[in-house]
Each structure stands twice: as C-alpha cells, then as structure tokens.
Symmetry: D2
Subunit: 341 residues, 4 copies
C-alpha cells in the first residue's frame, strides 16, 4: 500500500506512520517535492484495513500495489492449468466448445440439440435447468426435471453436461447430475454460492459479472479455490456499457489480460456477449484468435420459438458453419478440437 499525503505536515505524517506500525507493517517515507508518500511494507494481501487510513487528517488517498489474489494468480502456479472431464480436456492444446440452448424446454428439444452439438463437433452440452430471469413472470426453468433431461442427453451423446446452479442448497443435486457447474454472471459475487461450489469436485465455469472488473473475477475464482476446488474456468461474456447495438460489450482484451494474470483456462461466450446470432461467428473467431481456451455458444433447433435468448441463438447449420470456420484458426493458435467419442 502507498499512502499519499495531502500535506507535508509532520504531525499528520507521524499519525499515519504510527497507525501503519500499530497494524503490524513497516512504514517507509518518500519526501517528494509537493507530495509525501508513505509505503506500508508487509504482506499486501492482508492490508485491507489500511484503506481506512484515508479517513485520517492529511491523507489524500491510499493506493493498493499488489493484486489481491493468490491461488488464481501466476505467482504460485506459473503453468497453465488443464482440467479433464470424462474424455474432454479443458485448457492446454484443446479448444473446448460448450453449446446448447439457453433453457432446457422439453425432452425433444434438448435431445435434438444434443445431437446437433455432438454431430457439429461441440465438446459439451449446455442447458439451463434453473434459470435466473429478470422477471418473476418469465419461465424459470424445468428445475430438477431439467437435470434429468440433461443426463438423458449425456447418455445419448456422450457429451459432458454444463448447467447453472443458483443457490448453495441446489449444489448437491446439480453436482450429481452435471459434469461442470456454471456460476452465472449475476451470481459472480454471490459468495455463499462460490464457497458451496468450492467444496465440490467438479469444474466450475465462472462467468464474469456484467459490471465486474477482471480483478473481481479473479477474486471470485479465489473464493472457489480457497475452499479446495482448484478447477475454475473463467468466462468472459460481455460487460455493460453505453453501447446499445449489442446486448453487452464483449471485452475480448480480458482474454490476454486473464491469461497473463492467471493460470486458469479462459472461455468466451459470444452469444451473451453480443446478443445477436449474426455476431456470434465473427466474435467466436476473434476470441480464439485472442487466445481463448474455449467458447460457450447458444444453439437452438428453432430459435424463433425459444423460451429465452432466441435472438442470440445459432441455428444448427450456423453452428456447424462456426466449427468449420474455427478449424483452420485453431491450427494457427496451436489448438485442436476436442473430439468426444
């Protein structure tokens, strides 16, 4: 931490130094020409309380220096993490492609989509059983029945299942049925839920909140990891900005930034990231070119009848086209498509 003083008044500076030492750190003063800054030396990650020094007289601001994550960062683990789910590999030299409908709507729809995903070359099937909807009057998902239908789709195709979990008490049931648990953007800072999935042994897809910083995403990964589960997959899915041509603004720079700061695999969701099916393929390609380890896309046999997110869902033919267009790109970035037998 760096404490920037408004004044050069010795009494104010002494008071700050005394507090820094009282909290167990060493104070180090740099007398500048117009500003004096005081460094607090010690373990940065426990220094949260020093932020409160901003309320002392003469203090202009307190500036943290170190990134506050440990387990998610590159300092302890410098090698890229690679996870396995059944036959599928996440991270490393394989591109992991999760596809499927926003919601599991009925048996036919999910089985048909699973087949499309499998045949098209997808690595895993997504589908919401529990749906976080903005309106209490919207379809809230098939819930437990949805989980059973997803399991049936796995049995039919061999595709691992990715599905969202909304509350700590659903975690047990979802863990039983799914291969990968998803934390949605709205729950990225639902810490009780993060802790609950941190106690499971399944990989977690952690979606970035739509107004969460990259730092906060990594801190949420840290929550999961600090409970024991090290298999966190980070997922950029668009942030909120003033632009309205797209549903969100897909922040692809987050991919190289996350790869630099963290050893965890990074996915991109161009469906939520853009909100329009015709932007999904170009942004999927851009994501892979930027270094993403995986993609999550919405696919629906008949998007115009989808209970939700039809506008951003790919039709079967478009999904196949996407995979075909991605193939030459993969070879350039040194990845191959994971095949599911």
């Amino acid at each position: 931490m760096i404490i920037v003083m408004e004044t050069r008044d010795k009494k104010d500076i002494d008071r700050v130094v005394a507090k820094i030492e009282e909290f167990g750190y060493k104070a180090h003063i740099i007398w500048g020409v117009e500003r004096t800054v005081i460094g607090a030396v010690g373990d940065e990650r426990t220094k949260g309380r020093l932020l409160s020094l901003e309320s002392l007289p003469g203090v202009e601001k307190v500036v943290p220096i170190l990134k506050p994550f440990k387990l998610a960062g590159r300092e302890l683990i410098s090698e890229d993490s690679v996870f396995r789910v059944g036959d599928a590999q996440i991270g490393g030299d394989r591109l992991f492609i999760v596809a499927g409908p926003c919601s599991v709507e009925n048996r036919e729809q999910i089985l048909e989509t699973a087949r499309i995903v499998k045949d098209g070359g997808g690595t895993a099937l997504r589908g919401g059983a529990y749906k976080p909807r903005t309106s209490p009057y919207s379809f809230q998902g098939l819930e437990e029945e949805g989980l059973h239908l997803l399991q049936e789709a796995r049995e039919a195709t061999g595709l691992p299942i990715v599905t969202e979990v909304l509350t700590p008490d659903q975690v047990g049931l979802v863990e039983e049925h799914a291969d990968i648990l998803q934390i949605g953007a709205r729950n990225m800072q639902n810490y009780a839920l993060l802790k609950a999935v941190g106690k499971t042994s399944k990989p977690i897809v952690l979606k970035r909140g739509m107004m969460s910083t990259i730092n906060e995403l990594l801190m949420s990964a840290e929550y999961v990891m600090s409970e024991g589960n090290k298999q966190v997959i980070l997922c950029e899915r668009g942030i909120r900005t003033f632009e309205t041509e797209t549903r969100n603004t897909l922040d692809l720079s987050a991919v190289p930034v996350l790869k630099k700061l963290s050893h965890l695999p990074v996915m991109v969701d161009p469906s939520h990231g853009t909100g329009h099916w015709d932007l999904v393929i170009p942004m999927a390609k851009a994501a892979v070119a930027a270094g993403a380890d995986g993609l999550m896309v919405e696919v629906h046999p008949r998007p115009e009848e989808a209970y939700s997110d039809g506008a951003q869902s790919l039709k079967p033919a478009r999904f196949r086209q996407m995979i075909e267009e991605l193939k030459p790109l993969m070879s350039i970035v040194g990845k191959t498509l994971q095949e599911i037998p």
Copy 2:
C-alpha cells in the same frame, strides 16, 4: 411489443404475423415509407418470448413497449406506500435515517455507535453481521454473534435494526433478530434470495446493483412482492461508471424516476455512493432535495480503525452535523425527522 422489419418483403412479414398469432397475440401492421413495423397486441408482460422473433429472416429488432413490472408499479397502486417498523415510519412525511458501521466488529463498537446514532437523531441502526467481501481473506463478519450484538444495541437504544442477509437459509435467523432485512447490491439479482425474503413479514431494503438499471431494480422488487411481501424499500447506492474520483457514481436522478414509476419508498446511500466521507453530507442533502424518503449512511466511532469502509464512514460529530444540516431542508420538502422515543 413492436417488431421492426428490415424489409418490406411480404413473405417475411407474413411469417412474423403467423408467429405472433401462434403465440396468442394480435398482429397489427404499419406500412412505413422505408420500414414496416408490426405491433403485437396482448398482455405485454407475458411477451418475453416474442423477443426471440428477432431470429426470423427480415426482422431488424423487437422493441418492448410496456414496463414489465406490476406490483412495484404505479398502475395498480398509485398512492405512495408507507411502512411501519415499531415506532418508525418509512415513507410518507417522515425522513428515515439508517446509520451505523459497515460491520459489527465487537460489542463495544456497536453499542457505542448505536448510542451515537440515537443521540444524533437517526431512526434505525445498520450493521453488518454477514459481510459480502470481495476477498475471501477479508473479515467476513461476526455472523450469528453479530446478530445478538445488534439485538443488544436495539434493547439499549430502541433503534430498529437493519442488517444484510446473504443466503436463503440465513433468512429465518436474520428475520428473528432484525427489524428490516437488507439485500445488498451484489445480490440484487440473486432471485432465490429475493424469493426467500419475499416470504418474510419484515420490510426489505433492496439495494440497486452497481450494474443494474432502474428497470431491473423494480423487477427485483417485483420478485420480492410476488411472494407476498409488499414492504420493499428501494435504495440507490451508486452505479459503476468510468469516473474514478468517487467509488461509484451516485445516480440521484434515479430518485425522481423511481418515485414516478413506483409507489415504493426510495432511500439513498451516499456512503457507498461516493466512497469518501467528505462527500457524504453534500450528497445526503442533495438526495433529500431530490425527494428521497430516507438515507443510509455509515458511521463509525473511529473510522481509521474500521475493519472495512473506514474511508467513507462519518465520525460521530460529522453525523450530528449532517442531521443538523438536513433539518431545514426537511421542512422545505415537507418531511420531518422520525423521532425514536
């Protein structure tokens, strides 16, 4: 819903009309000079599925017309809602001032603060027992012990207690100890939690998410209300923008907008809204002038030692100054300070 067509192609238009009718609405075409628009007439609030028509050929965009909330809106209930908690009134002609520390840190601290709040003229005591912290390594609150200390503070001062609840399974315990339950900004779209507090009989302070629109805030209120609990207090606490001089950007325009759209009481939290103690008083005054029904401010006996949020906490003398400066303002806006006997 209004469906804007990209083309004037009859086949495309017929296809959209057919779908609208299949979903149970009446289609109404306006042939424009360059664009054709199709209105879908019927109950707007169930029209979510029509958004998926954007995936049909020839459709440029689908534009919702009606606000999607009912219970939170002015259409069913046009009068301002007023709630009561013990001797305190929330909404109407009283200004409701909740004050206290970010976290309950220990017995002494919370009792001392409760006394300061009571003597200064505050209406209720806030204090976090369960704390949602960005870092898993930060102080997470005293939890159940914190609830007991808050109860003790109420017994000592008569102030009603406002405290945050983080998970559905905490709701019972917190409801037992607190007078008002708070849903924090990060949980504004934690729908399971909204439903859980919707089943209690205590008023709910619902904080606007830092990434949430005014519409989404009202839809989250709708979640609580649709479970039976009509006592929702909306709280603006700052949204995220590019500006870094303040911790968040306090969106005071949300006050008159919310008062126009909804009958629910509206509070403002200038502490989180600005992040700096020296901005709290001016923004508290601005909030009252804009028509707010209440304020939530952080007060700490010794902010520089606070476990969290010290930089934005008022010292006791500043809190008293705030109340004094608010008094003449209240008389102008037709409100009086709620006195707690």
Copy 3:
C-alpha cells in the same frame, strides 16, 4: 510517480533507476515483501514521459501521484473565484441561473423566451446560434442571425447572453455578441478551441464531456486558463452510462468533488443531465443542495414544437415553479438569487 516493479530483479530495478535519473528526477526505492516500488521525486507535472517506463522489462505499472492541474486547482488559489458579467455575479453567494431554448429558432421565440426567463427570475439567457447536431440533416442553427437575435433579446431584457461557440474562427464573432461563451460537451477536449477562448476576456462555461472524468474537465479548464482567461465556469451535464431511463446520468457528486479540487464556480445542467422535463426540477433542487453555484436549464414557450430538445425543456409555468421551489433552498445554502434590474 510511483513505478511498481513486477520483480525484485536488481538489473531491472537498476535500469529503471537509471532512466528516472536520466530524465532528471531522483529515484527512491522501497523494497517490499513481494513487490518493489520506486518513487520518482521531482516536479510531478512534467513527469508525463515517465509513463513510458512501463515498457521497460520488469515494470508492472506506473502510478501518477499528483493531480496534473495548477491554475484550476486549489493549491495556488484557495479562495472561491467569483466573476462578474454586467450586473450579474457568478459564484460566491449568488445563484446564477441560465435559461432559454436549445436553439434560437426565430425572433419571436427568442424574445418571448427571454421575457419568460427575465420575469421568472433567471439571471442569463441561453440559446444556441451554432448547433452541434449528431446528424448533418438536422437543423444546424441560425448562425450569425441567431447571434443578432440574442443581442436583441439582451437589449429587450437586460439579461446577459450565453451561447455556444464551435470553432476557433467563430470565437471573435461570438465574443462580440455574447457575454459568456459556452464550450459544449462534445468540444471539451477540442484543444484548439479551448486555446482560442482562452485568449478572450469573456467568462467561459465549460461543459463536461459525456465520458470525461472530473480530472479531464479540470485539465480542459487548465487549457483555457493557461492562455490567460481565468474566468472558467465548470458545468456538470450528465455522463454516459448503461442506464437508459435518463438521457445521461447526472453526476452530482462531481459538484462537491470539483468544489474541493478547484476554486472555479460549478454549474449543473439538469436538462441535458436527465433528458426529461419532469426530472429537471428535482435535480435542479438536488444540485443546489449539493453546493452548485448555478444552473443551466432549457426553457421553451411551446416545447412540443421545439426544433430540438423539446422533451427536456420546461414550459414557462414550470420554470417559474422551479425558481419558487429553489428560493427557500437557496437561503439554506447561503445563496440568494441574482436579480437583473
């Protein structure tokens, strides 16, 4: 400047220290537990080049410490600046209220509005002669003729004239006809224009860009002042965010932040800030409560016929109501309404 090192590698640190000294500053190293930081001591305001050190190996980031403005800041001039225009005072104990239409549309309209503003209690008349419009096909203003009509309105009412200038070569003509020159939000970083108005002797209303930080606003004021013109009036008019219920998000916290950082008068424009006439009065009151020295509001005799901005314009009766509601508030904040004889 503080240079934060990624490593503790001596060679990297020596290289940074050498560059700091080569650029004429003193380097001061703090060896931390995990990070080493290097302070560069010397005149902070000329240190821009040190930012480029981020490209050296081992450097994580470069953090500026000092605010980069001088003339606009409180350090050289701690007293609030007060300007005079004819009989009107801007800043200090007077509230300065500029009102009028978005555009000067014709003689009748501007004379009628001037009378409304004068009778209602406004201090100055605004009206655009040169209009910066998003579309080249929209009404671009009456240009020079508009300036003549504004002058006529001043002669008829005694109200000083505020009007926008768009290019450096218009400055002379506008200066001749207007009492106060306005730099619009889109031109806040049009540095050639800032320098041009910096050479005039008329007060400048400098509107904050819709995605400009408070710091950048003050740096733009610095441009004007560094050319000799010290009469800059800062104007908050809403910034761009994700919220769509309002045209912009009026950042009222900017008022106390600007008053803390700068001695210049601060105005607020609740018309552009909200985009809806029914939000103008509450936000005008909030602005005054927050400490604003003035207001700029749009008034039109028949808003529904306005060439531009009708949706956010006050009708005459509403304008009078606003002034009436502001009067008791002014007495609380220690200001009185400027009367124009």
Copy 4:
C-alpha cells in the same frame, strides 16, 4: 417514429395525432391492451422534431425506428467500399496496416521508424505532427515541421502518410503533406472539422470517440460524406468503461456491426484500445479474425524514451512478430498483406 402513450385518453391521443399531421406525417394508431402506440409514417430521417412530442401530456416516450444515416449505410451502397492511396488499397481483399510512433519527435526517430515499418511489412506510416494532449503542459507536437519530416519519411520509404488534423484551418496544410487525414477520437463530433475534411479529396480515418456509440460514429462519417468526400475509413479504438486493467475497452463487436450497417472499411487500433504493448498482438489478431480491414498500431524504436504512449508502443522486433503471426490468419479470412514497392 413510434409514440408510446401513457394513457388511452382520447384527448391526449388526438393531440398527438394532430401534431404528427401538422409536421407532415401520417399517424397510425395501434390500440393495445394497456398502452396505445402511434406510428408516424413518413421520411424517418427528417423526423428529429417528433422527439419533442415527448413533452405533450399523456406521452410516455418516443422511439425512433430507422437508422439515421444514408450515405454511410448499406441501403444505397450495398457493396463494400474500396479506396486506393498510391499503391495501397484500403478495404476489400487487402489488409491495411498503419504503423508508427504516437508523435513525430525528431528527424532520426521518424526516419528510423519508417524504415522499421516498411521492412516489417506495414502499409502506411502514422505519426502525429499536431497532438491533442490532455495537459497543456505536455508536448504538443512538432506541428508544421512534423509534416515535413513525415514527407521526408515517405520519400525515403514509399509509405503513404497518415496524420491527424485538429482544426479546420489546418486541413489545407495537412492535406498537402499527408496521404490520409486522421480525425482523432476526441474530435469525432467536432462537426466543423468533419465538414472541412469532407471537402478534401484524401481518405479520412475517422476514429470512434471513446464516448460514442456505433450509430454516432456512422453519423459522423455521414457528416464527412455529405460534404462530398466518400472515402471514410472507420476506426474502432476502444471505448470507456469501468474496467481499469486496460486503458480503454476495445469493442471488437463493433467490427461486424459496422460491416453489417455500412459499406465503409473498418480498422482497429489495438494500441489505444488496450494501452499496453503486450496486449497489442493478441488483439490485432482478434481484430483480423473478427473481419477488420485494417490495423493501426503504435511502433517506436525505443518505447521507454517515447514522448507519449510508450507503454502501448511495440518495439521493432514485436512489430515484425505481429506481422508474421498475422500472415496465416489473413489467408483464412481471405485477405493478403498489401505490399508497398
């Protein structure tokens, strides 16, 4: 335009209909279950005034339907535009790569960089002679001398020159010396400047403002084109968001959105878009994969000594690496690198 009524009150509706007809449009009413909407049929692009109807009693909002651009849009010109500058082609099947320093600093630096760009495979040389700097105390460019040095660099290498123009009265001089004129992000809505470059015969690189929507970018292109100059190259360079790990948030979705809405070539500037040299290569690749027609990157022989933007400038070796990594990608997207003899 669609006018959404708050009420079903016939008097209010009649009033709106009368105004619509008075302004020369046809009104078309859809009576909904809870809302009535009124369509105004006629040339959408001249309908700006209808927005003012929002101030009439009973009107909830006015919703524009049609995109307001003509010349920049796909409706009149559906084929992709391709421009030529000397031997270079912009748009179509060639990738156009502009590279060079932020500022022209001296003869040696610009000639050395020009050689690096030419040898590395760049198509054009960029370099600022007139610099828009946030601070009046920063280096403002070599001005006319800078233009001469750029010309010398062109003579030495054959590379066309791209340089920024800041004011209408510089346009003549810059047009004389440069091959392509650049409008910087801060000037995207400097309409006088847009009109001035619209009268030249040189291609214009129009950078998206950091606060500007995609729509506004196209409207600014429309300004240039409506003056006669149809050679506008759109450039995405990052928008402002809450994220601070990157200088701006590069909005790559803007590439396919712009390609869909407009026939104009689209470039991406990953240097300003990210602010960090180590993010430039991945984002350059992502941009090309997303369909960009060109790139603009900052290159400096010794970034740590750059007068400005050193942190985001590529060293010569990195620039060559970028081109090498782009080559296989180009063949996938069907483009080849433009060679300059």
